[in-house]
Amino acid sequence: MKALTANRLIDGEVVWLGRAAAWVEILAEARVLEGEAAEAEALALGAAAVAGRLIVDPYLIDLERADGGLQPVRLRERIRAHGPTMRPDLGKQARPHSSAA
């Protein structure tokens, strides 16, 4: 289980490829990629979004199921998905609607 992540060019915001071809700011809305074909399609959309000046540095991350939702496997990606661990007032975790992200 994977997702495709990147930073948005204009402001650096962490984003993931969403279920539609849009780039979403919340992990819970990310497109979950199962299998090589899905990954290849996502990477192609990522490359197109780089060319289209929406994002920079797209790459695949591993996901796992945890607490009834999806979580990145690596701590680094969990921190990107939520925000600095010692500053709950900063990053995505500070947004009212993203407590379950």
């Binding site: 690596r74 600095p84 990053g91």
Partner: protein
């Protein structure tokens, strides 16, 4: 302090305009990311985990109230209300939007600040003793020389594409507070027998994955040869430094692979070529620059001031502890340099909110001759305050949560941003610092432990100076988990030493206990409270600590 001349001013504003155009072209698609990335880095803009990061240069860590207020304004307007002061005496903003960066740079230019040469393979911000121009023990103020080096190195065409980054530090005193021996070039101001100013020159220090203590290449370099000699070192490095492998590209590796004698001979040969030419520093030029750094008009110590201060200390134990830890001896009678700790218990080392920055600016204006310093230990300093004003300064700092009396103690921790922000990190460092700080928070306990420098990096790049921590902590990743290696016995002063790894690492949960074990072991074996941690370690070696940590000597 140094003021921009017309050249500086027009250069910095044309650079802002140039970057504004580059951002515009990036967003419109005229520049690709590959083309743009080196340009943004040349203007201090990185991409970190959550957002872009802007690193702003604070030359030799010196700034005035107006500049500090501007940093606060940038933090509030364009960032999330705070900034992070770094071991390189700079400040980093962690959340700017790329599209805003040209505006931020324009705001900074209004107060003679910029982000040039804060990244890339060039000569970086020259750092200096944070008590420069104030310290009782100093031979001479290192800042005029740091400023001369800054002017010479700014946009130096020959040295804009070095094999790797290049860092220069200058100390004005025999007691080195600028860690000069872990810099590419370290300069220590000295006087010869005739009383003339010169430098002891060190080359090839550095941390990162291959930590090395610099080697002394000159006992005494006359003042007038400063630029010619520095240029000679840079030329030798530019010519022979490795470009095939970025991990072997720093001058420390060249020193290591070439050997001191050969490299010194190369430098001296190059120096013979360039000396007595345009790079000679005329006395008049040194005097002109030094005049910018003239000491402020210190007030005469009034009769009774000293007694009043002593009485204030007697009547307020918290103030007494603060004065003992956070005041440093000043060259003018009745004055002191005051450290404002950015390590309140449990907080992120080096972070300051916009409000705190503004308070420090106010204090500097009211009590401190409009001078502020950033120390490489990630604290702020008011270099010139009257001792008589300290009780009032303390009172105001306390109101803002900035009166922690821990300068040089175990909770005065250096920590790099680590995995909470940094894209290169292998583990977190700030929360480790916070937990250690909380564990040892009790003032009595810290005082009892005494001088102890803990330094933490979130990866092998060593931005948190862990190799020169008395206790150094390096966060690594092992099988997807954070792991923390402890080094002991490092030091970044005039007796610089690289700490030794004590044994296998500890988990995130276990690292604070391990540090406590090390500290308790020290307390149990020191000969007296006067024998500080480093002295005790140097006396006994690492065996007792290994025994305590692992049960195996």
């Amino acid at each position: 302090m140094y003021r921009y001349d017309e050249f500086d001013e027009s250069f910095v504003s044309s650079r802002v305009a140039q970057f504004r155009d580059q951002v515009r072209r990036r967003l419109s698609g005229d520049l690709s990311e590959d083309q743009f990335k080196p340009l943004r880095l040349m203007n201090g803009v990185y991409l970190q985990l959550h957002a872009y990061m802007l690193r702003v240069a604070i030359p030799y860590g010196t700034l005035n109230a107006r500049q500090m207020r501007k940093l606060a304004e940038v933090a509030r307007t364009y960032d999330r209300g705070y900034g992070h002061f770094t071991t390189r005496q700079n400040i980093q903003f962690n959340w700017p939007r790329l599209q805003d960066v040209p505006d931020i740079l324009a705001e900074l230019a209004e107060v003679e600040m910029h982000a040039i040469q804060t990244s890339g393979n060039c000569i970086r911000n020259v750092t200096a003793d944070h008590f420069a121009g104030a310290a009782a023990d100093e031979v001479a103020d290192p800042r005029p020389y740091a400023e001369i080096l800054r002017q010479w190195s700014s946009l130096h065409p020959e040295f804009s594409f070095l094999p790797r980054k290049f860092k220069i530090a200058v100390t004005g005193a025999a007691h080195d507070r600028a860690a000069v021996q872990v810099h590419d070039i370290g300069l220590q101001l000295v006087r010869d027998e005739a009383g003339s100013i010169g430098f002891t020159v060190f080359v090839g220090g550095g941390l990162g994955r291959t930590p090395m203590v610099a080697r002394k290449v000159r006992d005494f370099l006359p003042e007038t040869d400063l630029l010619a000699y520095t240029e000679a070192i840079l030329r030798v490095y530019n010519r022979y430094g490795r470009r095939d492998n970025k991990y072997k590209a720093r001058v420390k590796i060249l020193m290591h692979e070439t050997g001191l004698d050969t490299l010194r001979a190369d430098i001296e040969r190059e120096f013979e070529e360039v000396r007595s030419g345009v790079l000679d520093l005329p006395k008049a030029e040194v005097d002109r620059i030094t005049a910018y750094f003239a000491p402020p008009p210190f007030a005469q110590e009034e009769a009774g001031d000293a007694d009043a201060f002593a009485q204030a200390l007697d009547s307020d134990p918290a103030l007494a502890v603060f004065a003992e830890r956070n005041l440093a001896p000043h060259k003018a009678p009745g004055y002191a340099s005051l450290t404002i700790s950015l390590k309140p218990i449990g907080e992120a080392p080096g972070d300051a909110s916009a409000e705190q920055m503004e308070l420090v600016a106010d204090l500097a204006e009211t009590f401190g001759h409009d001078e502020i310093r950033v120390s490489h230990e990630q604290n702020l300093v008011l270099p010139h305050v009257r001792r008589a004003d300290v009780p009032e300064i303390f009172r105001r700092l306390r109101g803002a949560g900035l009166a922690e009396a821990n300068a040089g103690l175990i909770t005065d921790i250096i920590a790099c941003p680590g995995m909470d922000y940094c894209a290169l990190a292998t583990a977190r460092s700030i929360p480790v610092a916070q937990r250690i700080s909380e564990r040892f928070a009790a003032s009595g306990r810290q005082q009892e432990i005494g001088d102890l420098k803990v330094k933490i990096s979130g990866c092998i790049n060593a931005c948190g100076h862990h190799h020169v921590g008395h206790i150094g902590i390096l966060g690594v990743e092992k099988k997807g988990e954070e792991y923390y290696q402890i080094t002991l016995g490092g030091s970044g002063d005039e007796n610089t030493a690289i700490g030794q790894i004590v044994g296998r690492g500890f988990s995130y949960d276990g690292i604070v206990d391990a540090v406590e074990t090390v500290v308790d072991t020290y307390l149990g074996l020191r000969q007296s409270p006067q024998e500080d941690f480093l002295a005790a370690y140097r006396r006994v070696g690492d065996a007792p600590f290994k025994e305590a940590l692992y049960g195996t000597a």
